[in-house]
Amino acid sequence: MRGAIIGIDLGTTNSCVAVLEGGQPVVIHNHEGGRTTPSMVSWTPSGEVVVGAASKRQMVTNPTRTVFGVKRLIGRRLDSPVAQALAASLPYRLTAAPSGDARVRIDDAELSPEEISAHILRKMKQIAEDYLGQPVAEAIITVPAYFDDVQRRATRDAGAIAGLEVRAILNEPTAAALAYGAHRGVDQKLAVFDLGGGTFDISILNMEGGVFEVLATSGDTHLGGDDFDRRVIEILAEEFRAQEGLDLLSDCVALQRLKEAAERAKLELSVAMTTEINLPFIAADQAGPRHLQRELSRGELEAACRDLIEALEVPCRKALADARLAPGDIDQVLLVGGMTRMPAVAAKVVDIFGKPPSKGVNPDEIVAMGAAVQSGIVGGELTDVVLLDVTPHSLGVRVAGDRTSVVIPANTTIPTREEKVFATTEDEQTFVAIEVVQGDSPRASDNRLLGRFVLGDLPGRPAGRVRVAVAFTLDADGLLEVTATESETGRAASVQIEAKSGLSSADIERLRAL
């Protein structure tokens, strides 16, 4: 008798776990009674690891050892623009692994985002086990639709470290659509607008006869609630510097307090027109303690965040264009992610799609519920529903002139396989480097390098006479396998992979045992 497969929404700010009961997805409370758990991990001075709400409570007093928003780092290199921008504003330190992957420095240890996420996943696993009264070994984990291959693999690795067999990696907007439509039976076209803590995804789906087919997906991997918080922090810090001459941003503890206050203010301004920000003893100098007390209005917040809200439009238009639909063709718009509660964001949605969003969708829980529905598809309880997702980015090979030769275009339904034939560029070229890139830029170096094959032992021939057939296979989870075979001689050629990101299986085993 197989155990239950749980569905986990591993969010940037909050995580949620759900399970299928009697064919219906049910969200599981944590020990504090919360239906979501903060995605935060702290290391106390004594070395104890604390996860969730308890970690969030430590955020202010233990700022350098409390990690939040690790989802923004998973699968990223330290030298990437996103990581660099984060490093400047985070209270905890970032470093690089020998491979270049981003790491978090806690005291003397350098921790990977995978193992930090694993702590969160382990907690969600425990919440489920306590509820179900039995051990849990399998899970569906959701990721932003715009996550690339490296980020997906890293998420899977995090699951493995937590002792979970990850049966599927599911895109968050698609999960939301599944949860919304699985028992609804009506054929319709959906737009899922997912603005979470760290990322923005927009997906357009067609529901037909129980098949959820993603038509197009777009988004912005660094646009989320944290950026809105940041605007508020900047307003407050700027004013404080002008009035008091002190820089709050360079003070870890002050920064954390500002962040907490900004997040709270933002939430309150979704229902109120003004809110008060009160931070006594925020800083001190020779003259004595300094306090910050100020009213913030909804108008000010919206003005400060105007460009962020404007930035939501372009991915939506692009997704509609790729889906070959007009806004009027969309039957329902689903809002996912806490940020969609902000009135200005909801207004933008109406502006783009010409209709109000669907009510009755809980933006904080629907993704986990969708993961639970997917667990029913994988486990066999739900037979009338299935998902056809797409790959969000083009996949290709780097060719002469630093160009990308696309093998699988963006928004291709998966699983899929495509093959392309390439040729050598030099006479007597006995080996080629096949660089696999993922991304939509025509310039190869702007895209994400997934791996490099070296195909050796090629026959010595004039330039262009040696042909290499490169086959890309994308499985149902959006993970890529590349094979390269030399076409002419019929000899097997050696293939090595270089520059692999992420953790080795030895690392994962070692971390799992901890």
Partner: protein, 299 residues
């Protein structure tokens, strides 16, 4: 449909594996409409409805709990349904159609940088290059040096040169100039010839697969021998020749020989799933003879 045969509650991976392997075999020789299980004259709406049914029943997600090789097989089967749907719904524009014509070239050549070997990029062939090369004569294929330790190749006729002219003299920069007396065909005629040859090859391959699917091994073997005589460098055909040999050994109970032939087939064409499936069957037969397995294996 095989999933009905297997049944939803079946826990046994090996039964599902066999059913998938058989389905893969059936799909190899099938036209797009046959693959989907719709009549040849079905309209696009029917084709789509049928494809959605197949998607619901056979999406790889449904096999996610099974052994990794079963998941791979499920992905392979599903890929073929997809391809069949694209070809049936929009003939000639499917991924397979594009993949075939991809061999004829699409993008323009770019001027190359002299890069260090480790950084050497690869470029795509383009129509201009292909035309340029066809406009010159093809030199006889040089004998491929046999590398130690590799599988012995079957004795086949050497590649027939498509022209009997000697290679044109090379200039100092490595360019070859066309000189008088060499046959020069128009690009259009060469394209037409290449297309006709490709069509013929595809048709013969399809018949060979159909024979294989129906168990007519001797007919398949003859077809493939003929194909190979025309294009000895064709790895896909070579793989199939080995695969047929393997099937013949397999049917006669010569397990070790069958295994060797399947391995060779895979070396020539790693994507030949029938060979993989047959290897799996060999393993399965070894581990449990008779009973449930032989029931599924019977044609």
């Amino acid at each position: 449909m095989y999933i009905e045969e297997v049944g939803r509650e079946v826990e046994d991976d090996s039964a599902v594996r066999d059913a998938l392997a058989r389905e893969l075999e059936r799909l190899r020789g099938a036209t797009p409409h046959q693959a989907l299980g719709v009549p040849a004259g079905a309209d696009p709406a029917q084709v789509r409805a049928r494809f959605l049914e197949l998607v619901k029943a056979h999406h790889p997600n449904r096999f996610a709990r099974r052994a990794p090789d079963v998941v791979r097989l499920a992905n392979e089967v599903f890929l073929r349904y997809r391809r069949a749907y694209e070809e049936a719904g929009r003939p000639g524009q499917g991924q397979a159609g594009r993949a075939q014509s991809g061999r004829a070239v699409t993008e323009r050549l770019e001027k190359l940088d002299r890069l260090a070997p480790a950084n050497q990029p690869i470029r795509e062939l383009d129509a201009a290059l292909a035309r340029r090369r066809r406009a010159r004569s093809y030199p006889a294929m040089p004998a491929v040096p046999a590398a130690a330790g590799k599988a012995p190749r079957p004795a086949m006729a050497p590649a027939a040169p498509s022209s009997d002219a000697t290679p044109p003299p090379a200039t100092a920069s490595g360019e070859r100039r066309i000189t008088a007396g060499m046959p020069v065909l128009t690009a259009a005629a060469l394209d037409e010839r290449a297309r006709a040859r490709e069509e013929d090859r595809r048709e013969r391959l399809r018949r060979a697969h159909a024979d294989l699917g129906a168990g007519r091994l001797a007919e398949a073997r003859e077809l493939l021998r003929a194909l190979l005589a025309d294009a000895p460098a064709d790895r896909a055909v070579r793989a199939l020749v080995h695969y047929v040999a393997g099937r013949e050994h397999h049917a006669a109970g010569r397990e070790a020989e069958a295994r060797a032939e399947y391995d060779r087939a895979l070396r020539f064409d790693p994507s030949l799933d029938e060979a993989r499936a047959s290897l799996a069957l060999l393993d399965g037969e070894r581990s449990s003879r008779g009973g449930l397995l032989s029931r599924w294996f019977r044609k």
